[in-house]
């Protein structure tokens, strides 16, 4: 059962067809922002609404992929990936807030009657440093947490609950106004990024393309990792950690590496998410958000690379549609979907697609 990789399927399907299929999706994704640049009345114009919606889903897809690397491959279910996503988002948000505040303090600080920036805000007016923070904040936190957690061999449900506690603590901390991140309101009302107006079609298109690039890059990275010996060690770790230790591998290093990598990917996704949706607020750290991310992965099919992307797309696509089509009852549909998938599609949608493909 636990196929280490989607690659087995991809290998079976033949490299050519895989390339064609992936290429087609990529082409559509690259075309979208370009079509967005067309005048609004053009027949092929892609609206800002569609672009931000798909952009948001792509960011979620990266989160799903990152989560799948730790859950599907290394067997560590994190219920706190929302925290890393939000940290990346906040780092980006700090830069955007500084951009719109100009030389002054961000509005919420003057509201708290603060007269100078807290130390952790220093340098955030520089895009480069903000980008460093996007990587460092989630990366360091994940490293420290992972270091201790893996050292004491916390695993399984314990690990999941601890990550949940971590994101919950983060949420409470960021909700506090004194923490210096805008409290419940978080960051909104961004104007420019690198000097470009954030709502301009060109900026939107570039952000979208960056997201597509990050997704493609993550996919490639995941593919490379999964094919390497590293990927096989992870799979071994998931299935028989003790055996692996007695083979002389130190699982801590492996877990820590993939865990930190996954957190950094989430942070990057968060950084691209914030300028596209226009807000970051502590509710992104709510435990329910992280659970939902796990649902995307499970729904798509964990332990595969395409599955999580499909899962994120399906759940969020459904959500966008249901919340308009039948606002009162969409939670029933969503809940039922989770139950049906876990009961009847243990390998997720990708498992279904595969099973149909085979005679």
């Amino acid at each position: 059962m636990n196929q280490p990789l989607t690659l087995t399927a991809a290998q079976k399907a033949g490299p050519k067809l895989t390339a064609v299929a992936l290429g087609a999706v990529l082409a559509v994704l690259i075309a979208m922002p370009l079509l967005h640049l067309l005048p609004a009345d053009h027949a092929l114009h892609v609206s800002a609404y569609s672009l931000t919606l798909v952009g948001k889903i792509l960011c979620y897809a990266i989160v799903a992929l990152a989560l799948d690397l730790v859950w599907g491959y290394a067997g560590l279910l994190s219920l706190g990936h929302g925290l890393f996503f939000a940290l990346g988002g906040y780092a980006m948000g700090m830069y955007l807030m500084r951009q719109s505040a100009g030389d002054g303090l961000p509005a919420f600080m003057s509201f708290l009657a603060w007269t100078e920036l807290p130390w952790y805000w220093y340098g955030t007016s520089s895009f480069l440093w903000a980008m460093c923070l996007v990587v460092l904040a989630p990366g360091l936190l994940a490293f420290v947490f992972g270091f201790f957690a893996f050292r004491s061999r916390i695993k399984g449900v314990y690990f999941s609950i601890m990550t949940q506690a971590l994101t919950f603590a983060g949420m409470l901390l960021f909700f506090r106004n004194e923490t210096g991140f805008g409290g419940n309101n978080g960051f909104t009302d961004f104007r420019t990024i690198l000097g470009f107006p954030i709502a301009a079609p060109g900026t939107r298109a570039m952000l979208f393309l960056a997201t597509v690039a990050l997704l493609a890059g993550s996919l490639l990275l995941g593919w490379k990792l999964a094919r390497s010996k590293f990927g096989r060690v992870l799979t071994a770790l998931r299935d028989a950690e003790n055996r692996l230790m007695f083979c002389g591998y130190d699982p801590r290093g492996y877990k820590l590496f993939i865990w930190t990598l996954s957190a950094v990917l989430c942070g990057l996704a968060g950084a691209l998410y914030v300028p596209q949706v226009g807000i970051i607020n502590p509710s992104e750290m709510a435990p329910t958000q992280s659970i939902e991310a796990a649902v995307w992965v499970a729904l798509g099919g964990r332990g595969t690379l395409i599955g999580p992307l499909l899962g994120a797309g399906i759940v969020n696509g459904m959500k966008s549609w249901f919340t308009v089509a039948f606002p009162e009852y969409w939670l029933f549909a969503l809940g039922a979907l989770f139950i049906i998938v876990t009961l009847f599609l243990p390998k997720g949608v990708i498992g279904l697609v595969r099973r149909r493909g085979e005679p």
Binding site: L29, Y49, V54, L112, N184, A199, V324, P327, P359
Partner: protein
């Protein structure tokens, strides 16, 4: 047939993305679309659901009278699910996909802040019906709830008066978010300007969903030994029930330490056993118990509507301040559209200035000529055993809003008319 799987999944993925790309567009010339943007699920559903129903009722009422400009209003209800980014997304959808003429919605400040850039970018029109902290004045938003000077300050003035119990110590208790923070900041400045020493003001915040008020109530008790004390509560939503229960059970009565709340109305009291709360206060611009013909009609209509639609708990349906603000907002917009002869946002905005409406509060409310806020009366109500409020004090005439409170430094330089934030 081994080649299929990946192809299929890829196709599925692209189909999904395409469906987001080209959503079907419906054009209906004979109706005017009106967006309703209130959370129907998630944490805010508790407050916002009834506003959605109130908006639908008001639209029915207008339609029954022939609609606006001879066209029927067509409500477009969406559920932003208490998720702030989703508010922005749904707002954009209402404006660009559904092309609504106006949107009524939002409750929390963060949801308003989330949609605000979208409405400014696309030049949409949003009516916001809830009391809030001010510090904002967008040309694309009309604020039909109270600004701090239309709620908080009069309430504290009342507490300091002889009738209110001549309070000299103030315990400012709130949920930790921007509305309580700003309100308390304004109140603190106000109290100090009235000669209350700093030592007599205590400010305490609790996280969202806080449910254990034992320590805080014990602290209030301790604080209240120092002199005549009043609690100013900006506790939000669900936390009110455990707070009031703890207050009652620890034996703090309204005669000893009155609590004046800015977020507790008739709707919230439905979930509380009010017997131990009699005498505690709330400040609003409208109470269901206000006696006048317009209100009688308004309450009657709402009760009939709730029953007819089979809303949950219809037999105990109540009206409250944000519901009245929604009702007033929709009617004012309709009047402005009639006056402008079009739903064009710029023209409607101009027509709204100075618009008046005979509101259920018993006053004729005026939309300010410049600052997008209503002139509203302020009322202090005391909780009664039946879950209603009896008005113990009210202003003589409607008060003009001060979205930029003079008690916050730097606000004197802010213009008293709406300007886009960027």
């Amino acid at each position: 047939m081994k080649r299929r799987p990946l192809l299929k999944s890829t196709l599925a993925a692209s189909a999904l993305m395409l469906s987001g790309l080209f959503p079907f567009t419906l054009q209906a010339a004979e109706t005017i679309k009106v967006g309703i943007l209130h959370s129907l699920s998630g944490t805010m559903a508790i407050s916002e659901t009834s506003l959605k129903d109130m908006a639908l009722m008001t639209i029915d009422e207008i339609n029954a009278k022939g609609g606006v400009l001879g066209k029927q209003l067509e409500p477009v209800v969406v559920d932003p699910a208490s998720n702030w980014p989703l508010f922005a997304e749904k707002g954009r959808q209402l404006l660009t996909q559904d092309k609504v003429a106006v949107t009524f919605g939002c409750w929390t400040s963060v949801s308003r802040k989330s949609v605000l850039p979208v409405y400014e970018e696309l030049d949409g029109l949003l009516f916001y019906p809830v009391q809030y902290e001010g510090e904002e004045l967008s040309p694309n938003v009309f604020y039909t709830g109270a600004a701090p000077n239309q709620q908080a300050i009069p309430a504290v003035e009342y507490l300091m008066s002889e009738d209110g119990g001549s309070a000299e110590r103030f315990f400012l208790l709130g949920t930790d978010y921007v509305y309580p923070r700003t309100t308390n900041k304004i109140l603190r400045a106000f109290l100090i300007s009235k000669g209350v020493p700093e030592a007599n003001i205590e400010e305490v915040y609790t996280p969202f969903g806080h449910s254990d008020y034992q320590t805080i109530v014990a602290n209030i008790k301790k604080f209240s030994t120092g002199g005549k004390t009043a609690v100013v509560s900006t506790i939000n939503g669900d936390s009110n029930v455990p707070f009031y229960k703890e207050l009652a059970n620890q034996g703090l009565e309204a005669t000893d330490v009155p609590v004046v709340a800015f977020s507790v109305g008739e709707e919230e009291l439905r979930g509380i056993d009010t017997k131990p709360l009699v005498g505690h206060l709330a400040a609003w611009n409208y109470f269901q118990s206000v006696e006048n013909p317009v209100n009688e009609q308004f309450v009657g209509k709402w009760k009939a509507y709730a029953k007819a639609k089979g809303l949950p708990g219809a037999d105990k349906a109540v009206t409250n301040d944000p519901m009245e603000a929604t009702y007033v907002g929709i009617h004012m917009w309709a009047q402005a559209v009639e006056k402008a002869g079009t739903t064009d946002v710029g023209k409607v905005r101009d027509a709204l200035a100075g618009q008046t409406f005979e509101a259920p509060s018993g006053y004729t409310l005026t939309m300010d000529k410049t600052n997008h806020h209503l002139h509203k009366p302020v009322m202090i109500g005391e909780v009664q055993e039946d879950g209603q409020f009896s008005v113990v004090w009210e202003t003589e005439s409607p008060v003009r809003a001060q979205p930029w409170s003079p008690y916050i430094p730097g606000n004197d330089k802010k213009p008293d008319y709406a300007v886009k934030s960027n």
